[in-house]
């Protein structure tokens, strides 16, 4: 087990370095001089611009910049935001928990709703329940998230007054954004759960269980669902990335002060140290979550050998 884990972690390292390199190149490939872009519209003299270029190390050759960048990142230094002049790490740490909270809450919504809908649809295949669940699922998949979010606020906060518009840090203020993201994401979960269930239900051991006269509920809980859960772990890992990107759209609508909102602003203002930091952190989280998922999968699935 330990060796498996170790191998996975070691395999992750080159991938992560490649990500780091791409993030670095992102800035280097920007057409135009980033300092010119960022000073744009502000009173500045050539000396100030030169000074800033020097401060950011932009007067160095590209390979030197790269090594400095990698060195800094490894020491936990992501640079300083140009707009707020605070360390990028601080900016991200201030925002990350909010996004994580939203992503986890949405994940919960999507898994619960998706599982229930998917299992029901599979059990009652071709019935009205199945049709309804799948219709609901495909509708969710087709919903523009921002439109859905605006409608949610309009109905639940303004019309009905059930939820406050400005998040106050309570669990309650998490409900609307988590529902918006979670319901949309649950469509995919529901579909995949359904097909995983159908596949399992067609397996020999289920038929064997049936022929042994085991009761239907026992077959379901004891065999079918447990086996169908496996692929779902993978899905959840993939979903997580989707939920992180959903944050970019949804956070602004719900005044949710997470990394997505920060990202949209950083992109708009071309605050490149901040942009790079955010992209790096999100990509890294995604890689990490997938690692965890892989390990979980291996632990749950007897067929995958751990050695």
């Amino acid at each position: 087990m330990l060796r498996f884990l170790l191998r996975r972690v070691v395999m992750m390292i080159p991938v992560w370095f490649a990500i780091l390199t791409l993030v670095f190149l992102m800035r280097a490939l920007v057409p135009g001089d980033p300092v010119e872009i960022m000073f744009f519209g502000r009173a500045s003299s050539p000396e100030v611009v030169e000074n800033m270029r020097h401060q950011l190390g932009l007067d160095q050759p590209l390979y030197r910049q790269y090594f400095t960048y990698v060195g800094n990142v490894l020491q936990g230094d992501l640079g300083t935001s140009i707009t707020t002049k605070r360390p990028v790490v601080d900016e991200i740490l201030d925002r990350y928990p909010a996004t994580l909270q939203l992503a986890l809450a949405s994940l919960t919504v999507s898994v619960v709703v998706g599982l229930v809908a998917g299992i029901l649809a599979a059990l009652y295949k071709d019935s009205a329940i199945d049709t309804l669940a799948m219709a609901f699922s495909i509708a969710g998949l087709s919903m523009p998230a921002f439109w859905f979010g605006l409608l949610m606020i309009y109905f639940f906060s303004v019309k009905l007054g059930w939820f406050s518009v400005i998040p106050d840090g309570s669990l309650k203020s998490l409900v609307l954004p988590a529902l918006t993201l979670g319901l949309i994401a649950s469509s995919i979960v529901a579909r995949l759960v359904r097909s995983a269930m159908l596949e399992v239900l067609g397996q020999d051991y289920i038929r064997t269980a049936r022929s042994k006269g085991l009761s239907e509920p026992r077959i379901m809980t004891g065999h079918a669902i447990r086996n169908a859960l496996l692929p779902i772990v993978t899905i959840v890992g993939l979903q997580f990335g989707g939920l992180l990107s959903g944050a970019f759209i949804i956070e602004a609508v719900f005044a949710w002060h997470g990394i997505g909102e920060l990202g949209v602003q950083a992109f708009a203002k071309r605050d490149f140290p901040l942009t790079q930091g955010i992209v790096l952190v999100i990509a890294s989280s995604y890689v990490l979550v997938n690692l965890v998922v892989d390990v979980l999968y291996a632990m749950l699935d007897p067929r995958v050998s751990l050695s």
Binding site: G41, A43, S44, T83, L150, Y154, S157, I166, A255, K269
Partner: protein, 531 residues
């Protein structure tokens, strides 16, 4: 020149600058109807987090709105457009207009308990003049060379040449506590300490900024109703980037005031318990500017465009009625604004005159395709503006339709503001719809003094007129000098003024005495909340 060039720019939020002003009549003083009561929290929204709350390090309009509550300034500008005593009790201007000696009021304390004296004033301006600070607003100090503090109540400002906009430009320079600057160093911008009616409370990164009342405050400004400490205990600025979410929060009763989105003004005004407060004589100027290329360098073309713009319809449709048509090349709130003068020299909507102007300039439709030609080639031009502001794109589409009627084929295009300036400077943008918020008459120098903010100006005659306006310190004479500049601009149709849009807030009815001062800044010291 580039320094000043960066001043104006875009549409409210992220853009720049302190609203400087010499506005004459921006608001009708609010008459107190009830006895103010103390207490309560004033909740409002900002569309994004300010970068800093240090006047030496930011030029965001958004930041200056908050800083106005934290910092006092040497003087304020009254409704007559003249400077009035505030932290400075009085001042004297030398014969040669090169020295201003301020007498600093005794007994004013910063929120950290230290004294606001002449030495502190010197510290503040030295800090901004210091190139190492790289203060984005430094250009607003013009020809200021040095500040001396011979004693605790005297601050002497020395200039290299007479600089008339100085008093108004002081708006950008709230006085910060030198002790706090030393204590906090780099992070002063997140821990601001001033002497104003509100003290910095907390900054919850990304979500809100809270100011608390300064209980010891004495208000020396005579344009406010309240002479003592503020009535409200707290101001909370909630960061909400999405305008529709701001409105939703306001209507749900979670905010007491928001900057009113034009799209909702009519509906909110009709809503029980909500009022719209408008500042119609604002310091906003929306205009069409031109490059030095063909056909834009052709005066006849610019005159034709000026005649063809239906300003009334633009104010009505694009601005949903929340703007005033303006023929002057200066904001309606400016001291030098003169409707009569501009009607005489300006261009009112008249398609016949527009067509005649085109014909005079050699633009004729000889092949009968409905599009005029110049030197045998159809005139096809692109009208630009910046994104992502709906009102700019709406306006250029209306102008497009107007210009089609006089035989010009016009495309419209918007581009992010950041990408716009280089395109202006290279002349890639032929003509564009622009908005500046700027209250001093020196807006004209900022726009037009060669090479102009777009780098397209080269007019020695105009430069001379501008020089006179900027160095004439006497207010009356300065307005006269500014009028000469305005007449020159109109006669040559250097720009086509379109509208001055209003500053509007939606306020809950239990919020009283919400108003702006002559420089279009909020005076929350007067605000009180009834139950």
């Amino acid at each position: 020149m580039k320094l000043l060039g960066s001043i104006g720019r875009g549409f409210s939020l992220m853009t720049i600058l302190a609203i400087l002003a010499m506005a004459l009549t921006p608001y009708s003083p609010v008459v107190a109807q009830d006895t103010p009561v103390s207490g309560g929290t004033f909740r409002t929204a900002i569309s994004e987090e300010p970068d800093q709350l240090d006047p030496a390090n930011t030029n965001q309009l958004l930041a200056s709105n908050i800083m106005n509550n934290i910092y006092d300034r040497l003087v304020y500008i009254g409704e007559d457009g003249l400077p009035k005593p505030w932290v400075a009790e009085s001042w004297a201007i030398s014969e040669d207009n090169l020295t201003i000696t301020f007498k600093i009021r005794e007994g004013i304390k910063f929120h950290d308990g230290t004294d606001l004296d002449a030495e502190a004033v010197k510290f503040n301006f030295d800090r901004i003049l210091d190139p190492a600070t790289a203060a984005p607003n430094k250009a607003f100090l013009g020809s200021l060379e040095s500040v001396e503090a011979p004693d605790a109540t005297t601050a002497v400002f020395k200039f290299a040449s007479p600089y008339a906009p100085f008093f108004t430009n002081l708006l950008s320079f709230g006085i910060v506590s030198p002790t706090a600057v030393e204590t906090y160093g780099e992070s002063f911008g997140r821990n601001p300490v001033g002497s104003g009616p509100f003290m910095f409370g907390s900054w919850d990164t990304g979500s809100s900024i809270t100011l608390t009342k300064n209980p010891d405050y004495v208000n020396y400004r005579e344009d406010d109703l309240n002479r003592g400490p503020a009535y409200i205990d707290e101001i909370v600025y909630n960061v909400i980037s999405e305008a529709s979410t701001q409105t939703a929060a306001f209507e749900a009763g979670e905010l007491d005031m928001i900057s009113a989105p034009r799209e909702d003004v009519a509906r909110l005004a009709a809503t029980e318990g909500i009022s719209i407060v408008s500042l119609e004589e604002s310091n906003n100027l929306n205009f069409i500017e031109y490059s030095a290329n063909e056909p834009f360098r052709n005066e006849a073309f610019r005159k034709a465009v000026s005649y063809a713009i239906d300003r009334e319809s633009i104010a009505e449709i694009a601005y949903l009625g929340n703007a005033t048509p303006n023929q002057c090349p200066i904001p309606i709130g400016n001291a030098a604004y003169d409707a009569e003068l501009c009607a005489q020299y300006g261009y009112s909507y008249d398609l016949e005159k527009a067509k005649r102007a085109l014909a005079d300039g050699g633009f004729v439709d000889s092949d009968g395709d409905g599009i005029v030609e110049l030197n045998g080639q159809n005139v096809v031009v692109t009208l630009w503006s910046y994104a992502p502001y709906p009102v700019q794109s709406k306006t250029i589409q209306l102008v497009q339709a107007d210009l089609n009627q006089i035989g010009l084929q016009v495309e419209v295009q918007t581009v992010e503001f950041g990408a716009m300036q280089p395109m202006l400077e290279t002349g890639e943008i032929g003509f564009d719809y622009m908005r500046w918020t700027y209250a001093d008459q020196s807006i004209l120098s900022a726009l037009f003094k060669s090479p102009g903010w777009t780098g397209q100006m080269d007019d020695p005659e105009l430069d001379k007129l501008l020089e006179v306006a900027d160095t004439t310190v006497d207010p009356e004479a300065r307005i006269e000098a500014t009028h000469q500049v305005m007449i020159y601009i109109l006669e040559n149709a250097l720009i086509s003024p379109v509208v001055s849009d209003w500053v509007q807030s939606a306020v809950r009815d239990n919020v009283h005495d919400y108003h702006w001062d002559a420089l279009n800044t909020e005076r929350l010291i007067d605000v009180w909340i009834s139950n």
